[in-house]
Symmetry: C2
Subunit: 397 residues, 2 copies
C-alpha cells in the first residue's frame, strides 16, 4: 500500500497554497535542489567534459527511460528521453506513417492538445503526399476507423475535460483495420496505471513535467513497440541516435533499438531534477494512486455540485472514463480562476470557459479537497470573482 503521507512529505508545497495544477506543472521534489546542485557543481564543475561518461550523462536518457517505462507498462529498453513532447509527436507520427506508406488518413480528435495537431499538420505539409488529418469529436473517433486509416493518433486524456479514451479498445479497432496507433500520455503517465504493452500500442509519447513532477522544461519521452523499432528510420536523424555517434561517420546508421529515437545532446540539468521525481515514483503503486484519485475527484465533484450550482461539470461523471482531473464550465471561468488563485487555490483556466483542477495523490489529500471546496464555494456564493482585476486577461506567450 502506497504511503501517501510519506510521498507528500517529499515535495515542497508552499504554505497557503492548495495546488490543483500538478497536471500542468508538478511541484518540486525536496531532493531536487541538492541533486541539481550536485550535477552543476560536482559533475559539470569538476568533471567538465568527462561528465558525459563519468557522471553517466550520456546514458541518462536510457536509464530514466527504463524508469518511465515501468510507469507506463513498457518493457525495459523501449523508452528513451529527450526533446519536447511536440518533437516526440513528430518523430512518432513520421515513423508511423512510414510504416503504412499506402494509406493517407490520419485520425486524431478535436480535443487533442493543439500542439499534436500542429505538429501533424507541419509534417503533412512537409511530406506533401496527400495525407489528410481528421479531427472528429472525441466520442466520434471510433466511427473514423476504417481500412483507409494509416495512423490513429490520440491523447488518451482530454486536457480540457479529462475525458479518457478507451485505449485498449481503440487500439484493437485500429489494428483490426491494419492501422498504426500512437498514444500521447501527457495526462496519463503518473495519473493512473497505463499499459502500453498490454494495449499493444505501437508508439507512445508523453511529457515528464506534469504528473511525473520532472520540473519546468523537463524532457519528453517516446516508446516504440519492440516489433516496430528495427523498421523505424528516424525522420529526425540526430547524431545521438546513430549506432556509433563517436565514429563521426558521414552516413547515418540507426542505433540499436530505442536509442535511434534520440536526437541531440540531452538536457543534463533537467534530467537530474527528473531523477529525483522518479525516486518518489519508486515509492508509489499506480493502482493506489488511481484509487485515491477516484476518491478525491468524486468527493470534489459531489461537494462542488452541492455548493456551487452555477458551475457545470465538464468532465465525465464516471471515474473510469476520466483522467485525474475535474473540469467545470462557467462563462466567467477566467475571472473565477483568477479569484481562486488570489486565494491560494491553484488550477488552470482553459479557453473558452473551463476551470480545470488536477488531482495528484502523491501530494494532494482529502483535506486539500475540503479546503479547496470551501474557498470555491465562498467565491461562487458571494460572487467574489466579479471584480475588474480578475477579468483583465494578460496575453501569455
Amino acid at each position: 500500500m502506497t504511503d501517501f503521507a510519506r510521498t507528500k512529505s517529499l515535495f515542497v508545497l508552499p504554505e497557503g497554497v492548495i495546488y490543483l495544477d500538478g497536471n500542468s506543472l508538478g511541484p518540486l521534489p525536496k531532493a531536487a535542489a541538492a541533486r541539481v546542485q550536485k550535477t552543476v557543481e560536482s559533475e559539470w564543475g569538476n568533471m567538465l567534459i568527462s561528465g558525459w561518461n563519468k557522471a553517466g550523462w550520456m546514458a541518462q536518457p536510457s536509464h530514466l527511460g527504463d524508469r518511465i517505462a515501468r510507469l507506463i507498462g513498457a518493457p525495459d529498453g523501449t523508452v528513451t528521453l529527450g526533446d519536447t513532447l511536440s518533437v516526440k509527436v513528430y518523430q512518432a507520427l513520421a515513423a508511423a506513417l512510414a510504416l503504412r506508406p499506402d494509406r493517407k488518413k490520419i485520425v486524431s480528435d478535436n480535443g487533442n492538445f493543439p500542439t499534436d495537431l500542429y505538429m501533424a499538420r507541419g509534417l503533412i505539409e512537409s511530406l506533401n503526399a496527400g495525407h489528410v488529418l481528421c479531427t472528429p469529436a472525441p466520442e466520434d473517433v471510433a466511427d473514423e476507423i476504417d481500412t483507409d486509416l494509416a495512423v490513429l493518433m490520440l491523447t488518451e486524456v482530454d486536457y480540457r475535460t479529462g475525458r479518457r479514451h478507451d485505449m485498449k479498445a481503440l487500439t484493437q479497432a485500429a489494428h483490426a483495420v491494419g492501422a498504426i496507433v500512437i498514444w500521447d500520455l501527457a495526462h496519463s503517465a503518473g495519473a493512473f496505471p497505463v499499459d502500453v504493452a498490454g494495449c499493444n500500442a505501437d508508439f507512445a509519447v508523453g511529457c515528464t513535467y506534469k504528473y511525473l513532477n520532472g520540473g519546468p522544461g523537463a524532457p519528453a519521452f517516446i516508446y516504440v513497440a519492440p516489433e516496430h523499432i528495427e523498421n523505424v528510420q528516424p525522420a529526425l536523424a540526430g547524431w545521438l541516435g546513430h549506432d556509433a555517434p563517436f565514429e563521426f561517420d558521414l552516413k547515418y546508421r540507426a542505433g540499436t533499438g530505442i536509442e535511434r529515437m534520440r536526437v541531440g545532446t540531452p538536457p543534463v540539468l533537467q534530467m537530474a531534477a527528473l531523477e529525483t521525481a522518479l525516486d518518489i515514483w519508486d515509492l508509489a503503486d499506480l493502482k493506489d494512486v488511481q484509487a485515491k484519485s477516484i476518491d478525491l475527484t468524486q468527493a470534489f465533484i459531489a461537494e462542488i455540485e452541492a455548493t456551487c450550482p452555477s458551475l457545470t461539470l465538464a468532465s465525465p461523471r464516471d471515474p473510469n472514463t476520466r483522467g485525474s482531473q475535474v473540469s467545470f464550465a462557467h462563462p466567467e471561468g477566467y475571472a473565477i480562476m483568477q479569484a481562486l488563485i488570489a486565494r491560494g487555490v491553484i488550477g488552470d483556466f482553459r479557453a473558452p470557459n473551463i476551470l480545470r483542477f488536477g488531482f495528484t495523490p502523491l501530494y494532494i489529500d482529502m483535506a486539500d479537497v475540503q479546503g479547496a471546496v470551501a474557498i470555491i464555494a465562498d467565491i461562487m456564493t458571494n460572487d467574489l470573482w466579479d471584480r475588474p482585476e480578475y477579468k483583465t486577461r494578460a496575453r501569455v506567450t
Copy 2:
C-alpha cells in the same frame, strides 16, 4: 579592453587541469550554481505554475535570444532559443528549402559535423521530392555553387581541423546564383566576432554549451533573417511557435517574427545556467577574444612543432582561416589524448587520428598554453602514451 583575468576568475577551473576542451563543453560559471538553485527553489518550488509568467520563464527564449544575437551580429528579435542544434538544423533547412521550391540541390561539405548531414538526409527522405545532398571537401564547396543550388548549408568552422570557411564570400556567391544560405555557428559563436547580418546569412543556428559556456544540454539557437521570417511556415509547428499559444486554437497560425521558430516547452533549468554564462559574455569584446585566441594558438602551434615533430599540424596555419582551435594528427592520437587527460591536459580525440585543442580566452591564458606544451612534449618525447591502458577504447554512446 576585455579584462581576461576578471573573466577567468568567474569560472570554476579545477586544480591540476588545463582545460583545452571548452569547444566541446564550456566550464561552469561560478554564478551558475546559485542562479540554478534560485530557479529550482524560489521559482519552481515557490511559484509553481506561475513561474512561467512571474519568473519570466516563458519569455526567456526571446530574452536570451537577444543576448546571443549581440554575439553573432544579429539584430534584436531575430534569434530564439530551444531544442538541440540538430533540431534547429532541421528547422532551418526545412524552411530554406521551402523558400526555393523549384531547386533540389543542397550543398554542405564532408567536414560538417555529422548530425547536420544526418538531419539533412532525414529531411530529404521525408520530403521525398528529389533533393540531393552534395558533400564535397570543404575547399571545394565554392565549385558546387551554381544555378541549381537551393541551399548552401555549412558549419563555419570544421570541428576536426578548425578550418574556417569565408562566410561572407560564400554567402555572396550563393546569393549570386539565387540560393539560400544556412550557417551552423557551433564553433563560431563565442570564438570570434560573427556578423550574420553583415554577411547577409539567411539562417544561422548554433549551440550554447561550447564557447558560450551554457552547460551540458544547454539549448540551441536559431537566427532567421528579417526578410525571410514572415515567409517561414515552420515544419516543426509547435504550440509555443503559435501566434497565441494559450488560445488553444486548433489551427496553427505562425507567431510573430522569430517566435514562430519556438517549438515546445523551454528547458527552464538549462536557461538559468546559460543566463549566468551570458552575463560573463557581457564583459567581453569578441575582437579582444579573437586577438587573444590568435596569440594563444600561434604560440601553441610554434611550441608544439618545435618540441613534438611526430605531431602534424592538421589546422590551417593562417589564423584568419582558422577557428579558435588547433588540431594535430597522429596515428596514435587516441592513446596520446588518453595520456594527456591522465596528466590533466584535457582535449578531444576525433576519429580517426585528430588531437583537438580548444582555446577559449575567457579563461585560458598563456600560462595554460605553456603548461600544456610542457606536458605534451614530455608525453611525446618519452613515448608515455605507449601503454595498454591508454589504447583501449571504450565505446561511448
